[in-house]
Symmetry: C2
Subunit: 105 residues, 2 copies
DNA sequence: ACGAATCGTAAGCGACGACTTACGGTAAGT
DNA sequence: ACTTACCGTAAGTCGTCGCTTACGATTCGT
């Protein structure tokens, strides 16, 4: 649910492939698993992890379950990195300034 | 080096703690490891992973090695998430429009 | 020059996670 | 009603990763 789970979910290469396949639009499980190196149950497990992390949304339609990328989950992770980037830049500038001020003594 | 390594590096909770400690500014290994739940060698190993991922920079000064967050590495990961977010939004809008257009037939 | 401090690396161990096969459950087709 | 298709879950195996202890290398202090 939090950004930690999103990072953990995206850490796995197979799950990143799944995300890439969903970039163009929503897909059912079979279509996602088709042509991928792993079995369909494995894909199902990955989809569960991604869903629990808030990165995917599910829409059961008749026989199949259609998965889609959830912009909210991605945005949450995006905001975390934004604050990290801000802090990193600020610390970087501060360190540079400190060095320029002459920290010799 | 690539954004994949950055994600993998940030997936570990201990490494995220290290990153948080470096948000305020650069620190030597001892200061980072101090008060953390794990041993100093463990921290060293994590620092290596983070450095290899391009998230940290090292500056050996005399006796110690000072680590700092590298804005470039964070930015690389940030860009990846930005494109993912754009695609997710576009796919989301397209799916909504398709549903509004009446996909009955 | 000698002792202390700071840090990286090697080896070994335990735990978590990704994958497979097997199974059950629900919806669509005839 | 029966068969087929689609999908999630359970159990088990195997590799990988994070941690610890032990050690070696480099630098500072006196």
């Amino acid at each position: 649910m939090a950004y930690q789970d999103a990072i953990t979910a995206l850490a796995d290469p197979t799950r990143r492939v799944i995300i890439d396949r969903l970039r163009a639009g929503p897909l059912p499980v079979g279509a996602i698993a088709d042509g991928m190196g792993v079995s369909r149950p494995a894909v199902s497990q990955h989809l569960k992890v991604l869903s629990d992390a808030g990165l995917l949304s599910v829409t059961p339609t008749g026989n199949r379950r259609v998965y889609a990328i959830s912009p909210d989950g991605v945005d949450e992770l995006r905001r975390y990195l934004d604050t990290l980037w801000d802090d990193a830049l600020a610390a970087f500038a501060r360190a540079a300034e400190e060095k320029a001020k002459g920290n010799s003594t």
